[in-house]
Symmetry: C2
Subunit: 259 residues, 2 copies
């Protein structure tokens, strides 16, 4: 039987909120078995850019990563967030190692090709080094990934944290029975967007099609759900969507997605 692996993605905003950060890392450290954390970006990068006088350029709601904004991502995600999370987890007894995709050659990507827009130093994932990550897990370490990859030629690249979490979960599914957790601010996928307590407990492929058809899944949830089913169709066993309480062992108030 395959060993189990949990891949948990948390947002950067959570890290910037002292109480939220403490809570999620507490819950994460208590989770049994092999686990990997992926943390996204938050407001701090924008704040730092402002302080440094670096302009944040957006095209179609997506940030353009020039050399200066890449440096800011390396500093904030790869340094500040990563080290603070790791220090906190170590204090909780989790033997964490903070990583980018360059460390242990974990995630290789290529610079997104220019089409209408040049996104700059943004990477689309090519390969996840499952053997490298496996060796770390095997040695008892807990990898903590930030949203950075590398191209194998010495160039770091900015990569979406949801994507990184999905790609790691997919790649590791060859060897592990993998559950992917997406933590966000809501309790789960809601039947009624106005009602925080209308969590849909379970969605499968058929249910997903129906929810799409009825417009229940719309706007910001669309890419999230797309990512979830992309992972499921690529051998991830289960995807869970909810707020950080989802990581509590006895909580079932979140959405579980399966094929």
């Amino acid at each position: 039987m395959k060993q189990k692996l949990s891949v948990i993605k948390i947002g950067g905003n959570l890290i910037e909120d002292a109480a939220g950060c403490k809570k999620v890392l507490d819950l994460f450290s208590k989770m049994d078995g092999n686990k990997i954390l992926v943390h996204g970006g938050g407001k701090k990068a924008t704040e730092l850019a402002n302080q440094m006088g670096v302009e944040s350029k957006m095209v179609n709601g997506r940030r353009i990563t020039n050399a200066e904004t890449l440096d800011i991502a390396l500093m904030v995600y790869g340094g500040l967030y990563s080290k603070k999370i790791v220090a906190k987890l170590q204090s909780l007894g989790t033997d964490a190692i903070g990583m980018s995709g360059a460390d242990a050659n974990a995630i290789r990507a290529h610079k997104r090709p220019k089409k209408n827009v040049d996104f700059g130093f943004v990477g689309d994932v090519d390969t996840v080094n499952t053997y490298g990550i496996f060796k770390l897990l095997q040695a008892g370490f807990t990898p903590i990934f930030c949203a950075l990859t590398h191209d194998g030629n010495g160039q770091m690249l900015n990569t979406n944290a949801d994507t990184i979490a999905a790609e790691i979960a997919i790649a590791m599914s060859e060897q592990f029975e993998t559950t992917l957790y997406y933590c966000f601010e809501k309790k789960g996928v809601l039947q009624d967007i106005e009602d925080e307590n209308s969590v849909i407990k379970h969605i499968d492929s058929q249910g997903y099609d129906e929810l799409l058809a009825y417009g229940i899944i719309a706007d910001g949830m669309l890419p999230k759900m797309h990512n979830c089913f992309y992972a499921l169709r690529n051998n991830v066993s289960k995807v869970c969507v909810g707020n950080t309480n989802m990581l509590e062992a006895d909580n079932s108030e979140y959405t579980t997605l399966t094929l």
Copy 2:
């Protein structure tokens, strides 16, 4: 017979100089056997502090690390430098992992006690987790350390890179035959400070005492030499002092120190 291990300390200024950085990482990646890189700080942290409007407070020539300057160290040393070095080393075929003392619980320190001066978040090293570092080396990884430690209670601390290199070399000497390399701008310890080519090839304890008595070792070299002999007296086999050419296999134009 013990396996060999090389611990190489390079300055942060070297990392900020594109050509110098390329050269030293090239030479480092070609070195045989188990190896660990330790990189120090450079001007970038001060630059960033200025851009952010954070004042660098100095007492007796030593920087005071408040919460804001610690964040800057986490960003610049733990993020920017670390990830750039790791990405470059990966492109050269070295399977590097960028680490602080918190990652893999590698280096624990305690906040330096207040005496006349409160240095703030500055850590004096307590323990090096040799087993954690050994597991990484054993798995084929090359640890790249920045000048940051943690206290085990969730607090990151700033620690001098020369000290970190010495403490790692000392701790690892239980298991390895360890050589510690201090790279700096000069070819080695000079007989005549005015003559770049007056490198003293070998210094032992007796020679060290003589050089001290004659005032050949003075000023900035004093703490450096003190660190070297501290390492030697604590089971490090050999300490080498010189510029980056020292890492070339066929070069002998540097200073070797032994007991």
